[in-house]
Structure formats: C-alpha cells, structure tokens
Symmetry: C2
Subunit: 339 residues, 2 copies
Amino acid sequence: MELQAKKVERIRIYDVALAAGVSVATASKALNDTGRMAPETRDRVKRAAVELGFRPNAMARGLLSKRSFTVGLLTNDTYGRFTLPLMAGISEALVDHGVSVFLCTIEDDPTLAKIHVDAMLDKQVDGIIASGKRIDRRLPVDMTHLPVPVVYAFTDGPDDSVRFVSDDAQGSRDAAQWMIGLGRKRLVHVTGPTSFASVQARAEAFSDTAGSGAKILHGTWSEAWGHEAVAQLWGGDRPRPDGIFCGNDQIARGVVDALRERGVDVPRDVSVVGFDNWEIVAAATRPPLTSVDMNLKALGREAGLTVLAMAEGKQVEPGIRKLPCRLIVRQSCGGVAAD
Amino acid sequence: MELQAKKVERIRIYDVALAAGVSVATASKALNDTGRMAPETRDRVKRAAVELGFRPNAMARGLLSKRSFTVGLLTNDTYGRFTLPLMAGISEALVDHGVSVFLCTIEDDPTLAKIHVDAMLDKQVDGIIASGKRIDRRLPVDMTHLPVPVVYAFTDGPDDSVRFVSDDAQGSRDAAQWMIGLGRKRLVHVTGPTSFASVQARAEAFSDTAGSGAKILHGTWSEAWGHEAVAQLWGGDRPRPDGIFCGNDQIARGVVDALRERGVDVPRDVSVVGFDNWEIVAAATRPPLTSVDMNLKALGREAGLTVLAMAEGKQVEPGIRKLPCRLIVRQSCGGVAAD
DNA sequence: CTGAAAGCGCTTACAG
DNA sequence: CTGAAAGCGCTTACAG
C-alpha cells in the first residue's frame, strides 16, 4: 500500500457563492461583515460557508491586504532554554489574532541567518522578533533596513529599536532582600563571567542590597563552578556565608550539592537562591531551589503584541523595556511564598 | 522619538521588467530559466533583478503553484526536550528547499490544537509534522482527512500513516551489550512506568540481552526515582549490580549521585548508562554519563524530507520507520568510544 | 440591495 | 524571440 497526498479539493469562495446563489463579491462581503445587504442574504451565505467548511485562502487574502498573519522568530539559542518560553508567550499572544510563528534557529551562522531572514521576507511575514541568549550580543545579521518591523527580545538591537529584557537588577535585589528578610547576614554572590552585561547588572544590584562588603565570585555558568566556589568559600578559616545568591540555577545546584557533601544543611545553615527558575534544574535540586524567574513568557507576549502593533502601523516608543523578574520560592532558603 | 514600520516599497517583477525593458511575462521567464529567449535578454533581466534586489512575492507565487513552501510542526511537548532537536533536523533539511517551519505548541488542549491546525491550513502549509513526547500517544486532534500530507514523528498516528520513531530495542541492546563487553555480569534496568510502550520495548530488549534473570525496576522519570532505586538495590544483602541501565538521563543522574553518596565508585565498581543523551544532564553528572542518543535530529530530517516528498506528490510507503539509536560514550561506564 | 470589474504579484499557455 | 491575455482566490471601489 502506498500513500499519496490525497487531492482533497479545497472549497473556494466561488463554491460558497454558487451554493448561496449570489455573486462572489456579495459572498465576500457577507462573510466579512462588510458592505450592505439583506440580512437574509448574509445569513444564507454564512450558512453555506459553514456547511461547505469554507476557509478563506490566506495567500489570496494576503496578496490584497499585504498582511500574511505570520511573524518570524529568529534565535541563536539552539538549546531553546530561553527561546522556548519566549516562543510560548509569543504564540499565546498571537494565536488569538490568527498569527502563526515561523521559528528559525541560526546558531551563530551569518549565512544561515540571512537565508532564513530572506525566506521569511519572501513569505511576507508581518514582522520579525529577534531573540537570543544574552542581552548584550546581537544576532549575526543586520535587520535595520527590513521592509517589516523588527522587535528584539533578550538580545541586543540598534539604538532606535524596541528591545525587551528582564530587569536583572530588580531580580537580583529581590533575591538578596529575600535572604536578608530571612535573617541572613553574610551574603555571597556566585555568578558567571563578568563579560555578561546581566552579570554586571545583577552584581551591582547585589552589592547595593547586601552591602559593598558582600563578596562576589565570578566563574562559568556550570554546576562545576558551584562546587568550586563552595570549596573556595569553605576552604580557609574566614567566616562562612549564610546566604548564597547564584547567577543561574546550574551554579546553584552545584552549590547545594557541594554544601550537602560538606555536611552543611540547606536551608538551615545556608540559604541558596538560583536564577532562571529552570524547572528541570530547580525542581530536581535537593532541596528544590528558590529561584528568580525572568518571566520570559510574559516577555514573549509583549514582544509579540508589539511587533503586531507595529505591523498594523501603530506608533511605538523605541528603547529598552525592562520587564520585572519574580522570585519563585521553593525550599532552599527557608521561608514561605508570600502568595 | 516614535517608531513606525518604515514603508519600504518592495520591488515587484514589474519594476524589474521596466528596468530591463521587457514585458512582465518575459521577465518572469528569464528569472525562472523557463521559456526561450535571447541569452542576452535573460542576462539583462537577471542583472536588473539583482541590482534592484528583487525577491519574488511567495504569496503571489503560491497562489498559482499551490505551494507555500511552509510546513507546520505541531507538538504537545511544551518543554521542547524532544521537539527542539526534531525541529533542528526538520529546519536543517528543509531550509535548502526554501521551506520555513511554523512551530505550534498545543499542550494537550484539543481546542488549541484545532485552532493551530486550521490557521496552518488557511496559510496553505504544504504539510504538517505531528510530534510529541511519547510514541504511544496521539495528539488531541484528528488529522486523518486534511488536504495536506501529515507525517508523525515521535508520536503515534493512524495505521496508514508514516510514523518515525527511534529504535528503542536496538538502543537498549546496545547499552546492555556495551556493559557486558566491559565485563559487567549483574545488570539491572532502572526505568520509567510500564505504561510507556518504549519502556516495554527497552525492557524486553534488555532482558533478551542481559538474560531473563536481570532485574527490571519501574518507577517515575525522575532523579528521585534513581535515588530510590539505589536504596532498594543496595538495601538488603542480595548481590549488588555492577551495571545499571537507566530509562533516562535523569534517573541515571539520580543513580550516580546515590551511588557516590554510598561510597560506590562509578565507573570502577558500577557502570551506569543513561538514555536520551540530554546534554545538560548527561554532561553535568559526575562522572559524565554514557547515554543512548535517539538521533532525534536525524529523525526530524527524515520526517521533513518525507512530508516534502509527499507534498510534491511522490508515493510514500506508510508504516512505522525505526531509526537507529547511538550510544554516546562518556565516563560513567569505563571503556572508550569506538570511533 | 447586488454584481461586474479591476486588481494584488506572479506564471503559463498561446499568439504573433 | 517576445508579449498580451488569462488566471490563481480573494477584496473593494464603483455602477446599477
């Protein structure tokens, strides 16, 4: 038995018009609730459309309206850790508007990026959302002179563009304040490389909140660095921290594991907070991690609605839009969620 | 300063024809390398097109050709653990054919699924790839009578459909054989719930390879279950396993952590193999996990090319297509990669 | 209140 | 060798 694309004939507006006994023009107006006509006629057409299962051909419509009801999401985050929540938000916001989303993953390959952008433009996307894995790097393709609006989410863009990022400083402050509120006195920040803008923003906010004496250790974004940092902190005879704010959940997991291996009780002896609220890591840690959530889904929603508004010709204020982070309370600090 | 979609006028074939001093019909034929004409004319048109940066409007073309050069990827795997590699393969295979991919995540919501499918059909997708997170469950939407071809990848589909899955039995056999080859004598399989078809397939293959005496423990897909299983296995006085094949990498990570906490050396005393080769888990485990990779990217590539072939009207054999798994050797077993 | 005509940006027989 | 005409499936002034 062989399988072949069954040539199901699609219903055109012509078929609907025929069935309802009206012209194609009238059928179109009836279905779009435009023009003036006898209510009875409109009803008859609509019934015929439903009966026949008519769905208008978006390509034909698009040719006229110059709207394709598609947008493209371009990303260099192949792992999808940031892209997926973003995509979920975009999709959720746009599906109600009948907009579908092309996903294009481009590693860091400029040629591939160009190919994908061109393919999307050929398909007349209404707009493009550029996204990445860090807010201080750009995608390897220039999108400043495209015939469609571009919005940047979790990636850098030109000065006159709209860029959505999460509020690293606020997230960091919230984390430190949470531990201080729980009575912790000796906070330490164990985080990623200084080359990341968000590392700097968080570190600064951490210092402001925990005091300039509070130590900050920079390393890689890995569990291994979490282990290593604990080895350093517990190595000498210096006073040990009782609260550790980590730059991401993987570091936090390493820290928690290392502390347990040293017989240090989390959260009794030390509170630990992570960053990213990456479910798979945060929930599997023993105890589960209290972590800062960047609300990437909400960020995606905003980015989607904004690019859509621009596609509809609405005026939009350029600049960086910081969306708030939220502390997700689990068991690694003690304390209980406020809400 | 306000930002508005700059109304860049797009170049139409009419502009190219004008610039080259030919008719639109001739321009079309020149650019598509069809028809007969003076080579000089063709060149002139092509040069004009390049100079003006002409890119044909895919909607207009699609209206004629009934091809949109888009496909949809429908999935209920919100976490993206299976979808992302699949998507990468699909995209990689199709970008060369000028095909872009709509990604639609539908949780398990039938209403949402229908909305997405309809939206894609309206946009005249050339085909749909249905995907999921287990091969024995279907998406909550019937796609048997669509006007476009549908291919199933890592999800169940109707009997007369094309379904791509990875070869669980072969992956399982390879894992067991690898440990046997390293001299392990007392293998155990710690895996997920029996309700999963792939759990059964792997368990059966494991028994065939390791012997029917080899124990199989079923639990959840979590690190916690890995810990628990080790507690059971090391609990009594029974002979302890020297090789543990885990149903996924999370279980394997739990097993490895639990063994270390008991002072059991991995890989010296016990070999551990995971399943999924989920980089983030496998690489962070101490020691890093040897794991079975399902080659989801290759699976995506196949699925993409197949749905494209069907869209082009080619005959395709229905049925289940099992693609081989591959053992990725790291340090949790001892032994060294063959290649 | 309804329909004929023109047109969106292309391609493809067909005529010259 | 080249172009005028028709048409893909719609929508939208415009005429009646």
